[in-house]
């Protein structure tokens, strides 16, 4: 059997402020390579919190997290930064591009940080991704000049630049209209099918969730089987 790309074992998470409150209770699941998984549930059920833990950005949790056969529990912040850089791509609800740079530079940044290829090669690759996503004509515009849908596609291009194992999305279609949502979903689907990259998306859009290969439904900090 193929080893899962991401495995969560008995994840527990507490919020301490204002009172100790258990947000996640014994979350265990695994995601196999190349699958398109959505996590869904009502607001406040802990799905975003879970995603931040899975994304290694939140390290304050109990339990075990294994990404690509590597345990992430014992790693320090610098090592986690390297893992985020190489193996995880992010797409957020609010697109989060760096306004000081143009679109192309935004896409190139993670790859330049990784430093595996020359700047020219990275630029070429970034343009390739932008082209696939149909926004190569916007490459030299400033991030602030783009529409919401375009920004989200730039963010996806940035998430893909280092060929990560897994792309995570936190409500990536949260404030996009139906048309743009469909475009984004289509892109995710293509990535999943063509590149055999894993997609993990948190959403409370039932349409979006339903179209994924696998749906994980959460309620009150637990997974409903």
């Amino acid at each position: 059997m193929e080893t899962p790309v991401l495995q969560a074992i008995d994840i527990n998470k507490y919020f301490l402020d204002p009172v100790r409150f258990r947000v996640l209770t014994d979350i265990s699941f695994s995601i196999s390579r190349g699958s398109f998984v959505s996590i869904t549930g009502k607001s406040g059920c802990g799905k975003s919190t879970l995603l931040y833990i899975l994304s290694t950005m939140d390290t304050d949790y109990e339990g075990e997290l294994i990404l690509d056969n590597e345990s992430l529990r014992q790693k320090d912040n610098a090592e986690l930064a390297v893992i985020r850089n190489q193996k995880i791509g992010f797409v957020f609800q609010f697109h989060y591009l760096i306004e000081e740079f143009n679109v192309l530079k935004n896409v190139m940044l993670p790859a330049m940080k990784l430093g595996r290829y020359s700047t020219e090669a990275i630029e070429q690759k970034a343009m390739q991704h932008l082209k696939t996503l149909g926004i190569d004509d916007q490459a030299l515009k400033n991030a602030s000049q783009l529409s919401g849908g375009q920004k989200q596609r730039v963010a996806i291009a940035r998430a893909m630049i280092n060929d990560p194992l897994i792309i995570m999305g936190d409500e990536p279609t949260g404030n996009l209209d139906k048309k743009n949502s469909d475009i984004v979903f289509g892109i995710f689907k293509d990535i999943c099918l063509e590149n055999k990259q894993t997609i993990l998306v948190v959403t409370h859009d039932p349409d979006f969730a339903k179209r994924a290969d696998r749906i994980i439904v959460m309620e009150d900090g637990t997974i409903i089987p």
């Binding site: 950005m57 992010f90 430093g115």
Partner: protein, 419 residues
């Protein structure tokens, strides 16, 4: 490659808020420029004031003081031992003011490598005759070359030059006040009467001005040979030996050493001008405290602006961290950002500081104490420029360090969730 990337990001962040960055850099520039201009100007003035005294005063002066005999007869009487005896009946011996073996002493001191040079002097009081009135005055017989080398007498000679003393025989340079009273000018001949009632005629080759009326009214200079001739003394006759040291701080110790070694009296410049030392210290303290305050104020300005910048860039920091930049990278970005401001602001600051100093050094400034000085004195010492640029770099580094550490600690989740 990687550091290049971080610097690249830092520059992009700076360029995005160009106006703010320019203001921050201008803060550094202004601080450094003002520091350099002020310290150069203040130390220039201080140096000039110091030179008024230091240039004119020998660091050590060797002479024969006229003192009463130390062992008075009453002290020898056993009956009065232990009493406070104040009957001093034995007058000072007529040894004159001559220093014995002066040429040997001069030679010995000149070989001491703590010494710049030694100049002999003959000091005598005279009367200048003007009609029926006699004005009392002092004639210093000096070695023309050494006097100029050690005491820069030419700086105070408003007409003529000290070299003429050596060229024209029986010549004299007299004080401005004296010349005004006697109504004489260069080329005139004046008549002087020595303490031994000899009368001599001397030709005026220069007018000297120190800016102190008491001195200008009595002081005059002639050559060693003329002074010896005037008093009918042989060529070995010297009353003072003036020593200039490489390090003025050694003067008190060396004065004691020479006094013991050559069995003469010696005073050092610190003892002779105690009030001058205090003045210098006070002036320097003021100069440095003002300058340091300026630099610290500039430093706080940079700190504030960087702090604001980091709050504005929270989103960018969160993105950088989410996409794999570590806390260390983010910290490096903000420190580099700060240092860019420091380097640019600092370099422009020292250039501007130099220009300001240059302008100050061209502002007219007349003082009767130093007739040869026409503009404000400015001290163009490289040290101040080095201090300025180092301070710019250190403050911007520190001002950047604290906000940068804050940025490094920011948890991206807090920002992303906060939206």
């Amino acid at each position: 490659m990687k550091t290049g990337l971080l610097l690249n990001i830092a520059l992009a962040l700076l360029m995005a808020r160009l106006k703010q960055s320019v203001v921050a850099a201008a803060g550094v520039t202004f601080g450094i420029a003002m520091f350099i201009a002020l310290i150069s100007f203040m130390t220039g003035l201080n140096k000039m004031l110091d030179n008024l005294i230091i240039n004119r005063t020998p660091h050590i002066r060797l002479y024969n003081a006229i003192t009463p005999s130390k062992t008075q007869p009453v002290n020898r009487a056993a009956d009065f031992a232990g009493f406070k005896n104040f009957i001093l009946s034995v007058k000072p011996k007529d040894e004159g003011k001559q220093l014995y073996n002066a040429s040997r002493i001069i030679k010995a001191i000149r070989e001491d490598d703590r010494v710049i040079d030694v100049a002999p002097k003959i000091s005598t009081t005279v009367f200048f005759n003007s009609g029926t009135i006699q004005l009392s005055g002092i004639i210093d017989g000096v070695d023309v070359d050494l006097e100029q080398k050690l005491f820069h007498l030419n700086d105070n000679i408003i007409e003529g030059t000290i070299a003429d003393l050596a060229v024209v025989s029986n010549s004299i340079i007299i004080g401005k006040g004296l010349a005004d009273k006697l109504i004489v000018k260069i080329g005139d001949v004046i008549q002087v009467t020595t303490p031994d009632a000899d009368i001599a005629k001397l030709k005026i080759v220069g007018i000297v001005q120190f800016g102190i009326a008491e001195v200008d009214d009595v002081q005059s200079f002639t050559s060693l040979q003329t002074a010896q001739k005037l008093q009918g003394k042989p060529a070995s006759y010297i009353t003072d030996i003036q020593v200039k040291l490489k390090n003025i701080a050694l003067a008190p110790a060396l004065a004691k050493e020479y006094a013991r070694l050559f069995d003469v009296d010696a005073t050092d410049v610190q003892t002779a001008n105690a009030q001058f030392e205090t003045g210098t210290t006070v002036r320097n303290t003021i100069a440095y405290s003002v300058s340091v305050t300026l630099l610290i104020v500039a430093g706080f300005g940079i700190y504030n602006i960087l702090n604001m910048l980091i709050y504005e860039k929270m989103d960018a920091i969160a993105i950088l961290k989410a996409t794999g930049f570590s806390g260390k990278d983010v910290k490096a970005i903000f420190i580099q950002l700060s240092m860019v401001l420091g380097v640019v602001g600092g370099v422009i600051g020292i250039i501007l500081g130099y220009c300001l100093s240059l302008i100050i050094s061209h502002i007219p400034f007349q003082t009767s104490a130093l007739p040869t000085i026409k503009t404000y004195p400015v001290n163009f010492e490289i040290t101040y420029y080095l201090i300025g640029i180092s301070f710019a770099l250190i403050t911007t580094y520190l001002a950047g360090l604290f906000p940068a550490r804050k940025a490094a600690k920011i948890d991206p989740v807090v920002i992303i969730r906060g939206k």
